[in-house]
Structures are given as C-alpha cells and as structure tokens.
C-alpha cells in the first residue's frame, strides 16, 4: 500500500472511533443537560422482563450490527481515499459513510439503553442518523444517471488502445507526406535543367543541318568513284575482326557466293589451303599496324574451283591511328597464274631429270643446259650456255654433230643414238642421245633439243653380268663337289642325323640314324613316328608323346634336347638316345622344317649309374670316417681329461717326497745326495709345467672360438696386471699405444698376449730397464699388432723354428721355458685366420707381429667367423 493510502487509513482508523466517541460524549453531555428526565425512565431491560434470553439476544445482535457498521464505514472511507481522484462526486460517499457510522452508533445506544434509560441521548443519535440518511438519499438520486454513464475501466482501456493506433497511423501518413514533398522538389529541379538543355539542342540541330548538306555532296562523289572501281576490281570491306561488311558484284561473281552468304563471314571461307599460316599472319600483322599489304592470293570458290587474285588491302584508320576497317581491292589473275604454273612445272621437269637436256640453235650453239647436263658433262649452265656442242665431242667424232644438225634442219629426229662424249674433266662417257627439232610458232625449225643419258654404268653392268655368268657356272661346279663331300660326311659320322621339311616329310636320314634306330626314313605322318620307330620315354614303357617328338618340335621352331628310349622289331634290347632338335630356317627366317641329331647314350647311362653308385659309396665312407674322427676326437678329449688327473698326481708325488726327503733328512744326507734329490724335484716340476702347457695347447685347439668385438687395450691391461708379480724388483717400462677393437675371441687373444708379454719379460731380464712396446700398424688393409722388447733377441737364421712345439732357441740354463708358448700363440692366431711372425736381431731385442683375419677384421661378421672357425676346429 502506498504511504498515502496508509496515512489515510490511519486517519480513518483514528477518525472513526474519535468521531464515534465524541458523538457519544456529546450525546452524554446533552443527556445530562436534560438529565433529570432520564432518571425517571425505565431501561429497556424491563421491557424484556429481564429475560436473559431476550436481553442477550438483543444485546448481541445490536453488538454485531454495531461492529459491522463500524467496519463497513472505514472500508468505505478507505475506498474513497484510494479512488477519490477517479470519482467525480465524493460528497455522496462521505454522507453515506457518516450515515453508516451514526447508524452503528444507534445500535450501540440500543445496547446502552438496555441498562441505562438514556433515551434522550439515544434519540439524538437516531436523529443524527436520520439526517444523514435523508441527506444521502437526496444527494444520490440526481447522481444516478451520471454514475451509469461513467465508462468502465474496460471501456476506457479500449478507447485508449484505439487512440494509440490512430496516433501511429497519423505518424505514418505524416512521413509519407514528407517524402512526397521531397520528390516533388527534385522533379521541379530537373525540369528546370531540361528546359536549358532543350535550348542548347535546338542550336546544335541548326549546325548539323548545315554539315549534312556538305556530306551529301561528298557522298555523291564517293559513290561515283566506287562505281568506277566496281567495274574493274573485286572489292570487299571487312571490320577489324575480319568479318565481311561489304562485297561488290564482281566479288560475288568470281567467288560464286551470293552477297547474303558473304556478309558477316570471314574471308576464311575462301581459303584454298594453299598458303601457309605464316603468309596470313604476316598479312594481318601488316594491316594491323595500319600499313597497306600487297600480294597474290589463291582462293577457292563456292563450287570448289580455284582462282588467283592480285590483292591490295588498305586499312582505314580512326582518329587515333588505329584501323577501324579494311578494304581489299583485287584483280583476277587466274589465267596468268595458270600460265606461270605451267611454265614452272615444265622447267621443274627439265631440271629434275637425271638425263642431260640441252637445247641448241641451228649453228650448234648451246642455248639451254639443265641440271642433269651439269651432272653428266661436268659443265655448269653458266659455262655451257653460249658454247658450241662440239666441245662435248671427243676426237674422231666431231663430224657426228654436222650429220645430226643436217637431219634436224630437215625436221627429222635422231633417236637412241649410242655414242661417246667427253666430260669437262676429260673422261669419256658412253651416252645414248635423242635429238629432236624445236619449232617456233610458225612451225619453222629454229633449234634442236637433245636428251642424252649417261650409259657408262649400264655398259659396265652388262660386262659385269657376263662375268657373273661365268662365275655362276664355276660356283655351281664347286657346289656340286661340296655336296658330294657333305654327303660322305653325313654317311660317315657316328651321330644320327635326320631332317624333315615343314610337312613332316623326311628329307635326310643318314646311315648312322639307320644303324642306331634300326629303321630308315619312312613316309609316315609325325603322329605315327612313335608307333613306327618304337620311341618311349626314358622309363622304357611309356610311349613317347608324338607331339613332344624333338623333330616335330624343331619343325615348329623349337630347339630342344631330350632323352628317348627306342625299341622296335629290329632290336631285342632297346637303345637310349639323346636327341637335339633345331629348326631349319630359310634366309628370311621362315621355318622350313627341322633337323635332329641323336646319339646312342646307352653306354653313357650305364656309366652314370656306375658313378652314382660310387658316389654313394663314397658318401658312406666319408660318413664313416667322420664318425671315426668324431670318436677319435672324443677319445682325445677323454685322454686330455685323464692326463689332467693321472699324469699330474705322480709328478706331485715325485716332487713332494723328494722335498720331504730333503727337508726331513737333510742332516743325515750327503750334499751330493741332496743335490741329486733337488734335480729330481726340479725335473718333476718341469714336467708339470710341460704337461700344463701341452694341455693348454690341446684345449686351445679344441676350443670353439667365440668371436666378439673386443678392445685389445683392455686385454693387454689385464695381462700386464697378471704379470705384475714377475716384474717385482725390476724396472719395466710398458709402452702401449692405442690398439683397435676388433673381432676375436677375448680369452684366446688374452692367452696370446700373455705368452708374448711373458716372453718379452723373460728375455729382457738381463736388461736394466726392460722396454716392452705394444703397438699397431696398417699393412695392406690389415691391422698388425706388434710386441717389441729390448731383450736378447734371437738369430733370424732360426726364425722358422720359433713356433715349433718344444722348439727352443735358448738353453734352459739361460732362459727357462716349455717351448710351447709360441706354438700356442700360432695355433690361436691361425684360428682367427691371421698370421704371426717374428723379427729380431741378436742382443737388440725382438718384435713379434700378428694379424687377426685375412681382410680388415672389422669387415667379417662375428657369426661367419665363428662358424668358419668352428668348422675348421683342429683336432
């Protein structure tokens, strides 16, 4: 609720009881004023005989009525307050409110008067109520019609809506009006412009009329010229694209097209296909740049006939100098062209002829000399024309010319006259000449034309032919003797030779064939050869398939070799034959039959069988041997194993008990005896070393090497540290350069280094400072490892003994050793496919070299090497 409304309600809420209260007080006061009268009255309760039921009925009812009236009144006042603006007449409502209020109070008084007889007061209140009611009624009646006439809110809303729509319409109409107005103004402006333009136009018209008159004059002149032109020439005009815009009558006449057919077309319709593209391109270029073009053109008329035109095409330029149309003026030159062509043709014929064509006058002076004449006689046209024919005659024939000329003068021709002439270079040639007279237009003989052919070649050919005939005869004889020889060859060779032509008919069957197969050539068709001659597959039972017969295949162009078995009535046992067939071809490559050569291979087959059998036996034996070898190998392994156990134990015992003897019984033994014992012990120890070294050697031999890429430096380091105990108390300088990593068995190569370095250490013992160098170098693509020491060296005389088992180059007192170390090294290096060798100088030190592998060791694969080495494991 609006604050205004609330305040009004509050006011009403206060006003009502206040009004009621004041009314009541007022009434009271008046009552008291007229006080005494009231005490004598009886309250209404006596009327009711103070029956509680009646009393309370009246009291409660009046109470409720009072309450209701006192509620209705404020409600009415609230309505008034809220809508006071909407209501054009408020006074009736106020009066009504007052009426209700006072009516309510009346009822209240009724309650009062049940107990208190304040009848004066209650009467006053009733009077007020009456007044209010009457006033209200009086006011209400005239207002009724007005109230009815008030529009309801619904109606009002509708009216509003209609008004709003009308406003929108009006707005639109206004807009339209404004636009129309603008248009009108525009149109008005235009009209003003038009008027001034019209004036200008009228002026121009006058000027134009003048020039028009001039033009007409000019046109007349042009038309006259044109007429003249049309009489002589063929005229056409085209636009810049080449479309024909005008043709004169002559054009139509000569091209045989009607004017309608030509207009709008391009000149291409007349193209006879004679001229090249370049010709037309050059034409277009010329006229396109504004220049005049002259030329001869060959065209084709509508009916296909050909005509020649001499043409001039003139471009007409516009104000910018560019062509705007072309005019072509042409004359018919067909006849002239034909005549020209004819002459040219004839001239070409003469020129192209191989024969010499010469024309002369009646004095014998040469007037024409063709290309053929140049060739035959050697004189060029320039040299010959003007000279006499006589220069061509050799000595002794000069008079021929006079005879010829005589006959010519008489109009006779001399035909195919064979004679001899001389060329420019002096060589004589045989010629066959035909001379005929040349007549002029009147028929008189004015000269002669001579056609001479160089027949030197022909004469030579004739001679050659005769010679050939003789040769032919001689070769025929030779052929005969050769045939005889071949025949005897065929008869004598051991191989059967059989040939047939393309139909399968036998043309050759040598005696060897007869002998091998048992039968001769018989005219049986190829399908029946198998049957007749008894041919079988090498299994000896299946008849040979006729279509695979080598001779048949040869006839069909196939070269082949097959084995067959032949058994027929002539043989009890059959024979095996190997047949090779090849086709016979004529010179042009066409198949002309086939030839088969066959030989008896029965023996060969037997031999083959024998060989196979031997091979099998061999295989068996090899297998056995391998098994034996394997067994031997196995035995050896067992042997080695036993040696490890059995040989060593006794050695230990010998050494051991000798030692015990020496130690425990030293006091009671002769020094010599002790010495002997020592030697026994030494011997045993030595033997132990030998046994160990031998075992090692054998193990190396058996060991299947395991190739892997190994860094040699690491191996050397290991060995050097292994040998450390040996270097106690000595000065040893180890010089190890960078060694490669290579494919090898690390364990075995470690052994190699062990042996070589131990040797180096041993033999450098006499030196103050032992210098041992391990290095590598490249030699022929291989890596060579070198171990050099500055020890006592050895004599190169004995270098072959270096690697022998038990071979030593020093005495045992000088340097101990088993003599197996280097043998072991060699065994290992060979297993790697390498070489080992030593170089030394006595007292200057020794160097031992070894390689590991035939090529650069990195190339071969581990697998391959492992396999190869395992396969070649030495026993």
């Amino acid at each position: 609720m609006k604050r205004a409304t609330v305040s009004r309600l509050v006011k009403a809420g206060i006003a009502t009881p206040v009004a009621a209260g004041s009314l009541w007080l007022g009434a009271q006061a008046i009552g008291r004023a007229a006080g005494s009268r009231s005490e004598s009255f009886m309250p209404h309760g006596y009327c009711y005989m103070w029956d509680p039921w009646i009393v309370w009925l009246h009291v409660v009812s009046d109470g409720l009525i009072t309450l209701s009236y006192y509620c209705i009144a404020p409600a009415l006042i609230y309505l008034l307050v809220r809508r006071h603006r909407d209501l054009p007449f408020q006074w009736p409502f106020w009066m009504f409110g007052l009426f209700i209020l006072s009516c309510g109070t009346t009822h209240l008084m009724e309650i009062w008067t049940v107990w208190r007889p304040s009848y004066v007061l209650s009467g006053i209140v009733k009077a007020i109520t009456a007044a209010a009611s009457v006033a209200t009624a009086v006011m209400l009646i005239p207002l009724l019609p007005k109230a009815i006439a008030l529009p309801s809110p619904q109606q009002l809303r509708r009216v509003n809506g209609e008004l709003r729509l009308e406003i929108i319409d009006r707005g639109r109409i206004e807009q339209l009006l404004r636009e129309t107005l603008a248009e009108r103004e525009g149109t008005l402006a235009e009209l003003a412009d038009r008027t001034s333009a019209v004036e200008a136009l009228e002026q121009t018209e006058a000027a134009l009329r003048e020039s028009l008159a001039q033009r007409e004059q000019t046109l007349k002149e042009v038309a006259d010229q044109k007429f003249a032109l049309d009489q002589h020439a063929i005229v056409a005009t085209t636009d810049v694209q080449g479309a024909i815009t005008y043709v004169n009558d002559k054009f139509c006449a000569v091209s045989k097209y009607s004017r309608d057919e030509l207009l709008g077309q391009n000149h291409r319709i007349l193209n006879s296909g004679y001229h090249s593209k370049k010709f037309f391109q050059q034409m277009y270029q010329t006229i396109g740049t504004g220049k005049v073009w002259h030329g001869d053109i060959r065209n084709r008329a509508k009916d296909g006939s050909i005509y020649w035109l001499a043409a001039t095409i003139v471009p007409f330029l516009d104000s910018e100098g560019k062509p705007r149309q072309y005019m072509a003026i042409r004359t018919d030159i067909t006849k002239r062209k034909r005549a020209e062509e004819g002459r040219e043709h004839l001239a070409a014929v003469v020129e192209s002829s191989d024969d010499a064509i010469i024309s002369k006058d009646l004095n014998g002076t040469i007037t024409a000399w063709n290309h053929g004449a140049e060739r035959v006689f050697g004189y060029s046209a320039a040299e010959a024309i003007g000279k006499t024919m006589v220069m061509l005659f050799p000595q002794g024939r000069v008079n021929e010319e006079a005879d010829i000329l005589d006959r010519i003068r008489q109009g006779e021709s001399v035909e195919h006259f064979e004679t001899v002439r001389v060329r420019k270079d002096g060589t004589m040639i045989d010629v066959s000449a035909t001379i005929s007279p040349i007549r002029d237009a009147r028929g008189a003989v004015v000269g002669a034309s001579k056609i001479a052919r160089d027949i030197t070649e022909r004469k030579r050919a004739e001679a050659a032919l005769a010679r050939q005939g003789e040769e032919l005869l001689r070769s025929q004889q030779a052929l005969e003797s050769q045939t005889l020889m071949l025949q005897s060859v065929l008869d004598s060779i051991g191989e059967g030779l059989v040939a047939a032509d393309e139909t399968g008919k036998f043309i050759l069957w040598n005696p060897a064939a007869m002998r091998i197969v048992g039968k001769g050539a018989v005219n049986v068709p190829p399908e029946r050869w198998t049957d007749h001659y008894g041919t079988y597959l090498p299994d000896t039972v299946t008849p040979f398939p006729p279509e695979q017969d080598p001779l048949l295949r040869a006839i069909h162009g196939e070269t082949c070799t097959t084995e067959m078995y032949v058994r027929n009535a002539e043989f009890d046992t059959g024979v095996w034959i190997e047949s090779s067939g090849s086709p016979l071809k004529s010179r042009d490559g066409a198949a002309r039959g086939g030839v088969v050569a066959f030989r008896d291979i029965t023996q060969r087959r037997a031999d083959e069988r024998e060989i196979r059998k031997l091979n099998e036996e061999l295989e068996e034996r090899v297998g056995q041997r391998t098994a034996q070898l394997a067994a031997a190998n196995h035995e050896l392994e067992a042997f080695t194993y036993s040696v490890s156990h059995d040989l060593r134990a006794p050695l230990r015992h010998i050494g051991g008990f000798s030692r015990i003897l020496m130690e425990d019984f030293a006091s009671s033994m002769d020094p010599a005896a002790l010495h002997h014992l020592q030697r026994i012990e030494d011997g045993a120890r030595r033997m132990g070393l030998l046994v160990d070294a031998l075992l090692n050697l054998a193990r190396v031999g058996r060991h299947a090497p395991n190739f892997q890429v190994t860094n040699l430096n690491s191996l050397v380091e290991e060995v050097v540290s292994l040998l450390r105990p040996e270097t106690e108390g000595r000065t040893v300088s180890w010089k190890v350069t960078e060694l490669p990593s290579t494919e090898c068995d690390p364990l075995l190569i470690k052994q190699v280094f062990q042996n070589l370095l131990a040797n180096a250490l041993k033999f450098t013992r006499p030196r103050e400072v032992a210098v041992i160098e391990i290095s590598q170098r490249e030699e022929n693509g291989q890596t060579v490892i070198a171990v050099r020491d500055n020890g006592v060296g050895f004599n190169m005389k004995y270098k072959d003994k270096l690697f022998g088992v038990f071979q030593r180059l020093h005495r045992a007192e000088e340097f101990e050793g088993t003599g197996i170390g280097l043998a072991t090294v060699q065994r290992i290096v060979h297993k790697h496919g390498g070489r080992v060798w030593g170089e030394a100088e006595l007292d200057k030190g020794a160097t031992f070299y070894f390689t590991l592998g035939a090529e650069s060791a990195d190339v071969k694969t581990s697998e391959g090497k492992n396999k190869a080495a395992a396969a070649g494991a030495e026993i």
Binding site: H653, G656, I660, G688
Partner: protein, 158 residues
C-alpha cells in the same frame, strides 16, 4: 682315535697323495684326528654311520671333508651329491681336492653344493701351502657346523 671326534675326513685313493697331505697337515699340527677313506664307499659309510661305522653318530660330524674326485667304487661327485642332499650331512663342509681344473668339474661340483674347490698343485711347495691354508681356515678360523640333532637335544634337555 675316536671315530666321533674326527676333525678331518680325507678321501683319496692315492696313498702317495694321502701321505703328502698328512705330512703337510702334520707340519701345522692339524693332523691329530684325521680319518682316511680310500674310496667313495668307505667315505659314505663313515659319514652316514653305516657299515663298519655304525657306532658313529650324526651329531658328531667331522669339521671338514677333503674329497678327491677320482675314486674307485663310488665316484667323488657321487659322494658329494649324497652328502649334500641329506639333511643330516649337508652341513658338513666339503672341499673338493683334485688334480683337474676342468670347467665341467667346477660347474658340477659347485652345483652339487661343494663348499670349496682346490686344484692339487703339481708343485709340492704350492701343495703344502694350499693344505696349510685349508687346514688353518677350516679347522681354526671357521666355526664348525653344529648338528641339528644336538640342538634338539639341547632343547630337550632344558
């Protein structure tokens, strides 16, 4: 010598080797209670308290068995296998002493559970050294095995 107070069981078929070994042990005063078996069968009888050695007890095993491989009747490896696969005897330290240092023997021996593997050196000095080291280590330094039976008994006793 009381068979139940044996320090070392020496199994070897070669009298010479036995004498040398004993000589070496004597030098170290380790030879007091050594029992020598000449073949595999004797060794097994001893260790398993069978045959002529029934009076032996499993609770009193030897402190060390020096076992040669090549033995008659029962092979060294067989002995090793039997000893090491029986709960009563597998605690006994067995040192293989043999001439061979073939890789296969090493593999088999260790796989069967040998405690140590010595190759008998050919050189007597070396041999003596090895035996001395062996004896000192296994008899002096090493704490001897305690039989499980003893433990049970000890428990029972409590």
């Amino acid at each position: 010598m009381n068979p139940n107070e044996v320090d070392i069981l020496l199994v070897d078929d070669s009298q010479d080797d036995i004498d040398l070994t004993l000589h070496a042990l004597r030098a170290e005063n380790l030879a007091n209670s050594i029992f020598v078996a000449r073949d595999g069968e004797e060794a097994l009888d001893f260790l398993f308290c069978s045959g002529p050695h029934t009076q032996r007890s499993f609770d009193r095993p030897p402190k060390l068995v020096l076992l040669d491989l090549k033995l008659p009747k029962v092979d060294g490896m067989q002995v090793l296998k039997r000893v090491k696969s029986d709960a009563r005897t597998k605690i006994i330290p067995v040192v293989l002493m043999t001439s061979s240092k073939e890789e296969q023997d090493l593999v088999i021996g260790y796989n069967l559970g040998a405690n140590s593997y010595i190759q008998k050196p050919v050189d007597f000095d070396e041999f003596r050294k090895a035996v001395k080291l062996l004896g000192l280590y296994w008899l002096v330094v090493n704490l001897p095995p305690v039989a499980t039976g003893k433990l049970k008994a000890a428990k029972q006793g409590q």
